[in-house]
Symmetry: D2
Subunit: 131 residues, 4 copies
């Protein structure tokens, strides 16, 4: 499934879809990373210090999934809703990414998730600049 090819088939597409497609892909990818990281943390022997990581993973997973869907819809969008949700996604990715980064040396899943969060925050910022 290629997001960019799919968006090109939309009856109401307009302009350059590159920045948009990159954001949609980053949001859905980060939602997946956070879902997997939360579960990997839950399976770690020393779970006590990972509570905040699990919690922020769950927040970030839901926020990224909602943002990806809101951004991907091209029929009659509301710019204020899109902008506000992008800002929430950036905040969630920054908070989750910073927490994951703290565990990145001990847990490879946290390192991978921090990377997804960083990419998603950047893709949301890039899209926010265009709308």
């Amino acid at each position: 499934m290629n997001v960019e090819d799919f968006l090109r088939t939309h009856p109401r597409r307009s302009g350059d879809l590159d920045v948009l497609a990159a954001c949609v892909k980053a949001c859905f990818g980060c939602a997946e990373s956070c879902t997997l990281c939360a579960d990997a943390c839950l399976g770690e022997e020393k779970i006590d210090t990972l509570r905040r990581c699990i919690r922020l993973d769950l927040d970030c997973a839901e926020i990224c999934a909602a943002t990806g869907a809101v951004v991907a819809r091209l029929t009659e969008p509301d710019a204020q809703v899109v902008r506000a949700q992008l800002q929430a996604c950036i905040a969630a990715c920054r908070a989750c990414g910073a927490e994951c980064e703290r565990h990145a040396r001990h847990h490879e899943h946290c390192r991978l998730c921090a990377e997804s969060c960083r990419l998603c925050a950047e893709a949301c910022e890039a899209l926010a600049r265009t709308i």
Copy 2:
């Protein structure tokens, strides 16, 4: 299922849970209203003028569901994430509520949904003032 009773059983609850519980209930209630309104609109004979309503219902349903979960979690919350998501929820409820209001005279489900959106925006604003 009573949200307030449930939150009182949380090991990390603190302070007055009334405003919080009201916001959680309003978010989950609005997510349900928007899901049902989108489907009722989809079933209306004259669907052409309801496209924007369906689209905003879908946005608002996902944003409210994510917000309700983020707000309801009391373990290690991140205030910036909570605040940003509340702002996104207020924007979604205002946009969706205004669109539903336009169809309220012809469609009772839009009238009910506009009411859910208004209550949810107010509950999010009330909670945002406390954090």
Copy 3:
């Protein structure tokens, strides 16, 4: 937000909505209970024995939310999809409810969640018998 009143405004409603509305309410209520129980478990000092409970709470929350939406939609439903999703919801509620029951004596949130799971499984079974 009253699910039953809302379903009565749907242009394609048919027959007795009582069993349907009860199932929709139970699914959304159980999704909320499981979301709150997962977070309450995550905040407990002795988290080690609660891993399975958190995991099943997360599964059950997502499955109940999806089931509630699928069941609540009255426009052009597919009976096989509805039936299969109801069976998945019953399985999730049984597994999660049984695990929560094991912790009910020590954690009031697990007791409340077990009760939500039991009610949701029953409501899904009642609806499944009618379609």
Copy 4:
């Protein structure tokens, strides 16, 4: 974000992850396709005959997203829940894929979505045979 690489970092991974990773990717990919197809259908001029397609897209998107998350979690899974949710996902993908197929000649997004549904049903069937 590479699902397979991510699953390999999980503390409780076991055995061959190929079939599992293929199913997770197919579920999340199909959830995205169905979300985009629903919105593209909503934007088509002749929307009247696409109601059932939009409705099944919404069902399939939520069911696939829930299934992907349930399947991807490796900490303390419940085989009966996984199996039942896989069956629900297969039913949703078949129903949605068949409806999309009917519109594939006129709408490229429906053709792409039908393909995602077919791949997802097959990946779920392959995983179901192993558990």
